[in-house]
């Protein structure tokens, strides 16, 4: 309303010289009736609150491959050693063959099977990976073929690989297995 809202005014204490800067004489006359302070807009004091922050420590994080870094944390443990992180999880290392669930083929049975019946089922394996597999398969196929007749292990892979050749011993073996269990 008035231009001088920040000023505190009382009609009684107003000297006549300053009345010229007041917006209108009407206000003075209306104020002169009341003896209270007129304060249309005032500035109260605001409390300056100290920001509250939790206590933080410096922590050393050691990742699974031995790399380490420090960060600020609320945990009081000085060192955190992680066993599972971006360095050894499959989602962050999609091309790492170490982390993929590659089936163990130590005895060469899988290779023997592939050598005998083709490898159409793992056609989706990328070529770079398939090549060493193929070499390995060729070497081990010969060995595995000789061993296949002699070995009598309760191995599902063995059963599959020797299915076509020896029908009679296979059935015996299966029956024997059924009795055992």
């Amino acid at each position: 309303m008035s231009m001088h809202t920040t000023l505190r005014r009382t009609a009684a204490t107003l000297p006549s010289s300053t009345s010229t800067i007041l917006p209108s004489s009407q206000i003075i006359t209306s104020q002169s009736k009341s003896t209270t302070f007129v304060c249309s807009q005032c500035r109260h004091a605001t409390l300056l609150r100290r920001p509250k922050r939790p206590y933080t420590f410096t922590q050393l994080i050691t990742l699974s491959d031995g790399s380490a870094f420090t960060h600020r944390t609320s945990s009081p443990a000085p060192v955190y050693r992680s066993t599972r992180d971006t360095r050894n999880s499959l989602l962050w290392n999609p091309s790492s063959s170490k982390l993929m669930n590659v089936e163990d083929d130590e005895a060469g049975r899988l290779a023997a099977f592939r050598a005998r019946f083709g490898r159409s089922f793992d056609a989706s394996v990328p070529a770079a990976e398939a090549d060493p597999d193929a070499k390995k398969a060729a070497v081990e196929a010969a060995k595995a073929q000789e061993l296949a007749d002699q070995e009598e292990e309760d191995n599902l892979l063995d059963l599959i690989s020797s299915f076509g050749q020896q029908e009679a011993p296979l059935t015996e073996k299966e029956k024997g297995k059924g009795k055992k269990h």
């Binding site: 920040t6 300056l48 920001p51 992680s82």
Partner: protein, 355 residues
Amino acid sequence: MAAREPSRYLARALPRAFAPSARPQAFLGRRNVSDEAPARRLSDQLEDLETSSSLSAPVSDADAKSFDPIARSKARKTQLPRSRYQFRSPKYDRGPLHPHQPPVPSDPSSRLFVPGPFALPRAEQTYNSTVASDILTLCYVHTPPGFKAPVKASRLREWDDSSPYHKNRPLRGPRGGDVLRLLRKPIKFNNIPKIERITIHSYVKNAASDHSGWLHVAGIAVQAISNVRVETFKSKSSVATWSIVPGRDTVAVKAELQGENMYHFLGKLIDVVLPRIKDWPGVKGSSGDSSGNITFGLEPEQVALFPEIEVNYDMYPPKMIPGCHITLHTTAKADKDARLLLSAMGIPFYGKIIH
């Protein structure tokens, strides 16, 4: 008062004008860069600075070893009054006209001062050294010389003046909703998207129906993982099944991370927490608010994987650790750019990527 001021300035300025000066007086009214006083030039001011840093200035070993501030202060016969060496900021801000002003918040003596940063976070260094320049190269769009971008139609529609009341009406919004999407400008060296802030938000539905302990536990858990005091919020909407009444029940906690805290949290989240989640496929490719902010959620079991909660897991009441939503606010104007930035920082995305 206003009438007095010019005379005061004049009184100050007059002796200066009559004082002998090296400069020619003819151009007093005009100021050019070329006839700037030599004392004003920046290079001359820099001459006052010491050339060697105080860190490298030589100090004799004897001086360094004998210097003991505590002993010196104890040796004084009369101790200095506290006010001589410790300024205390006023507790209240009483407005700009008050004679006793509080110092600015960046002043360590201010009550609002927040110390920091305490370290140079690893995630920030990765962004600055590698990610930012790669994004700039990836997002470069070549405009051949002489190329003029086709003029696009204004996004706000005008009224067709079929009615006399259309005069001076504000323009209409676009068709199919009044939302004006953010304009995506070409990415240049000065608007490479970066992470602005991270919000951790947790909605605790049991806080209304059960007891407030749920809210306290959620607040402590979020504070522990974020290093930031949380804010609490009341519900805005009514959920009858959880007996939540808008405006009455405090149901949510939120922590906002910026600067150093944000980068520490991001590094911890990416390197330690997310890989430990079992069978986690990544962040869904369709998440995002189409203006460059990506949100994903963590289940309570996943929140418990944070090293800060793991270290004293027993102290949290069983089953009361909250799940939370984590929003990564970036300065990118489109989700596509935000995803590019976040996947460069190490957050995997899965599923159909929606831009």
